[in-house]
């Protein structure tokens, strides 16, 4: 059920470095962005590209490592942007 999960997206260099471009993660509680990153890194060696210097958006707005992540949220990790 989407209410008990979060959708996590990856972009650009990070997307190519990780085994999957996005994951649906069991997430029944409210915790921080940092907790979510730690949970993903705990998946194994392939996930160490998910470093703490990446940018993060929660529900499509820029967020810090201490921002809360709730069930149903959409979270994205990505490198510094290079548009324009």
């Amino acid at each position: 059920m989407s209410e008990q999960t979060v959708k996590v997206l990856f972009f650009a260099r990070l997307r190519e470095a990780l085994p999957e471009p996005q994951v649906q993660l069991a997430w029944p509680k409210t915790a921080t962005v940092a907790d979510l990153r730690a949970a993903l890194r705990a998946r194994g060696a392939d996930w160490q590209a998910l470093t703490s210097d990446l940018l993060v958006a929660v529900n499509q707005e820029m967020a810090s490592s201490t921002a809360p992540v709730q069930p149903g949220d959409e979270v994205a990790f990505f490198p510094p942007v290079t548009g324009g």
Partner: protein, 159 residues
């Protein structure tokens, strides 16, 4: 007060965008525009093409937020902001920003600000395709420095 904000793979027409800014608009004497174009060299290497990735959903939201912030800071009439995504080649147009205002200082500052904010806050990423292969562009410190000019209490803050 009207905004036109687009994210698209298609090219845009400089002339058509200008017309949108000025038609029926005799109150704003100043029109400032910026176009960012793809260069044929980067860091000295010839670049054959570029792939522009973005975060659909967040992209337009973030552009709308930049434009709203500009409206809060300056007196502006019309604003248009177009960013392309997908495959681009040297000389291709990448981004357009146009603003109108009764005061030229406001139009200059807003256009400059929108570009600086976009370069550091809007979720776009460029991958270059060269003869040697592909590489993701690195964010530049100079863009971060330019964006910081607009922060409250910045010593270089304009207006």
């Amino acid at each position: 007060m009207t905004d036109r904000i687009l994210v698209q793979t298609a090219d845009f027409s400089f002339a058509a965008e200008y017309d949108w800014l000025v038609s029926g608009n005799t109150g704003d004497g100043a029109v400032v525009s910026f176009v960012g174009r793809m260069r044929d060299l980067n860091l000295g290497d010839p670049v054959a093409a570029m792939e522009l990735e973005h975060y659909p959903g967040m992209t337009e939201k973030s552009l709308q937020a930049l434009v709203a912030e500009a409206r809060g800071r300056w007196q502006l009439g019309r604003i248009s902001l177009i960013h392309r995504v997908g495959r681009l080649e040297p000389g291709d147009q990448i981004v357009w920003v146009g603003t109108t205002s009764p005061h030229r200082g406001d139009a200059f500052a807003a256009t400059d600000f929108i570009m600086d904010a976009l370069k550091t806050r809007a979720p776009f990423w460029k991958k270059e395709i060269t003869a040697e292969g592909e590489r993701w562009l690195e964010a530049r410190g100079s863009d971060v420095d330019r964006a910081q000019r607009w922060e409250k209490n910045s010593i270089n803050q304009q207006e």
